[in-house]
């Protein structure tokens, strides 16, 4: 399976890469460059590491659906500059 660092190979055709944004609920946006075939689990880990949060604390949503780690941008037909929302969990009693 194709797998490599997100932004290391400028020679690869740009159509294989997407610029994606992950937006937190506080309005901050984190930018990622990812291959269309890279699983989201990688982007999720990177995002959580940057934000110093646990992966268990957030859910990622795109177009009203939850993202799953094993999915790829290609499967969801993502386009350049698409935005993923990172939602922190809520509780109640």
């Amino acid at each position: 399976m194709a797998d490599s660092g997100e932004d290391k190979k400028p020679d690869v055709s740009s159509t294989e890469h997407l610029n994606l944004k992950v937006r937190s609920q506080d309005g901050t946006t984190t930018f990622f460059k990812a291959k269309k075939t890279t699983k989201f689990s990688k982007l999720i880990s990177a995002f959580c590491a940057k934000q110093s949060i646990s992966e268990a604390e957030v859910v990622f949503m795109f177009d009203g659906e939850r993202l799953r780690g094993e999915q790829t941008p290609e499967e969801l037909d993502m386009q350049n500059d698409d935005t993923i929302d990172a939602m922190i969990h809520q509780v109640g009693g």
């Binding site: 604390e57 809520q90 009693g93």
Partner: protein, 230 residues
């Protein structure tokens, strides 16, 4: 990825539809604990993908994360998100309402349910702890209502008569129980929304709530045992 049987609360235990449950999520069902949006998302997936497949096309269940996003997003984002929902074909729309006012931290203290029925173009707020969540439910109805305008009119809004929880930890289960009862009614054909109050008064007892908590836990543990790859 190999299944992890560790005691780590963050360990992934079940991937179900779009929901990934961790040990800490499932543990919320093992005692009198508050529910999080993960458990709600699981049960909503279960209701429409297993229990009530037949009403999948006419029913939309919005979990806590989605509703929260709606309440705090700009109108452009809301429109974009709603595009995939096929709202005109939905006769019943249910949204899990949480009162978390903070966008940048986990939180909230209460769950309630906002239901839209197309037949009378009305939102009903089913709330097991009257008085709480009123602002959040109103806000949800405002945002969703703008997407549901019919003949120039936004939907009406009423507080529905709802059995009250007798403790400080079961609101999430009430939310799920009412969601299920609305889906049951919808599935039998005629959703008589006024009868719903009667149905809820009769069926939504503390015993029912406690059974539902155990039943959801069993639904999850059965699926974990069946070996869903995580």
């Amino acid at each position: 990825m190999p299944r992890t049987d560790s005691e780590d609360p963050d360990s992934k235990v079940l991937s179900y539809g779009d929901v990934l449950l961790r040990k800490s999520d499932v543990d919320l069902l093992r005692g009198p604990f508050w529910l999080n949006d993960q458990i709600i998302a699981f049960y909503y997936e279960y209701l429409l993908n297993e229990a009530h497949k037949l009403i999948q096309k006419v029913t939309l269940l919005l979990g806590g994360a989605t509703t929260f996003f709606l309440a705090h997003a700009g109108s452009e984002d809301v429109q974009a998100m709603a595009r995939s929902w096929q709202l005109p074909s939905r006769s019943l729309i249910i949204a899990a309402i949480n009162d978390n006012p903070y966008v940048d931290e986990a939180g909230g203290s209460h769950w309630s349910l906002l239901a839209y029925t197309r037949q009378d173009h009305t939102f009903r707020h089913y709330n097991s702890s009257k008085g709480l969540n009123r602002d959040a439910a109103r806000k949800g109805a405002d945002v969703l209502g703008r997407l549901l305008v019919q003949e120039g009119k936004t939907p009406a809004y009423v507080e529905a008569k709802t059995p009250q929880q007798s403790n400080g930890n079961d609101c999430g289960i009430y939310l799920l129980a009412i969601t299920e009862m609305l889906c049951n009614e919808r599935a039998t054909g005629a959703l008589d929304i006024l009868d719903m109050e009667q149905v809820l008064t009769e069926l939504l007892t503390p015993a029912h709530i406690s059974r539902l908590r155990s039943r959801i836990l069993k639904l999850i543990t059965d699926r974990i045992r069946a070996g869903n790859p995580v």
